[in-house]
Symmetry: C2
Subunit: 180 residues, 2 copies
């Protein structure tokens, strides 16, 4: 829950209370009767594959600067989850991908996030985007398991290799206290 002081619609101070017909506390405006809901956010990513290698990015920004991650980021309005995963790969790794299917989902409960990961084929070149220090291809035995930025990405990579290219459904995992 992010703290809120003023109503974004009318500028009046908000109060924390349970609205009529609801069963949990929300930020409520008694000026214009707006209820300001706060809900989990979606992070979308993918594992870009070429031959027997996958593309990882070393983060240039906090949290977890210097650690490796699959390309991933917050889904934006106006796009599908798959489009978001492709866009993030373009931004972080300057790489075009053909998105496959979603194979892993991690509920990061305390952060209010759900991370969804897709398979993908890497098409063409790649390079470090603004949020990456470097971008590189790794064979399975080269994956820097001890330097992976987030537990969600680690879970995704683990399941990715367990699946061996077969769609075994969406692997679901949850994290109650997250690393960053």
């Amino acid at each position: 829950m992010v703290s809120m002081k003023y109503c974004a619609r009318c500028g009046v101070p908000v109060t924390r209370k349970i609205p009529a017909g609801d069963n949990r506390e929300r930020w409520c405006c008694e000026g214009c009767n707006t209820v300001h809901y706060q809900n989990p956010l979606i992070v979308v990513g993918c594992v870009p594959k070429r031959d027997d290698k996958v593309l990882l990015c070393r983060r240039a920004i906090e949290p977890r600067r210097g650690y490796w991650t699959v390309p991933a980021g917050f889904m934006e309005l106006g796009e599908t989850m798959a489009e978001g995963a492709a866009r993030e790969t373009q931004e972080e790794a300057c790489a075009e991908v053909r998105i496959g299917y979603p194979f892993a989902s991690v509920d990061i409960v305390d952060a209010g996030q759900v991370h969804v990961f897709f398979t993908a084929d890497l098409l063409g070149d790649f390079a470090a985007g603004e949020e990456s220090l470097e971008v590189a291809l790794f064979r399975e035995d080269e994956i820097p398991w001890h330097d992976i930025a987030f537990r969600s990405g680690e879970f995704a990579l683990k399941k990715y290799y367990e699946d061996r290219g077969k769609n075994n459904g969406l692997h679901v995992h949850s994290v109650r206290r997250h690393r960053e």
Copy 2:
């Protein structure tokens, strides 16, 4: 994109602009430098099954009052997607379920929503919750296909029956202009 007039943190009027280092317009506060991001929301639901029947709810509220739906609603902070689907079923159908696996996901692009559906086993009794006019079990040949409230739920039910209890991965669909 929901219109925003005032900064929820400091109460100053916000402006629509591209923040430094970003590539799209956001609501920005020049008083306290907060960027107010707006991102898609997650709706979670399930198809509660008992023997050869599934549980549907007839909506008592808008949008699509009077139409049938699988139990579903906005995911809340502090829960996993599966927990959210179970909670919504409790609220709308007064029913306890054992959640299975996610089998369908629909990007409702213009509404800024992602709807995720799980398989589930119905445990015990059920009854109409506050948001339902009635709740009932349907055999496959009894499903009111012409009176299903939302295209996402219709897609989920269709895939549910195509799968016949087998986990064929997460079926992904997107809707660009939605019914409600």
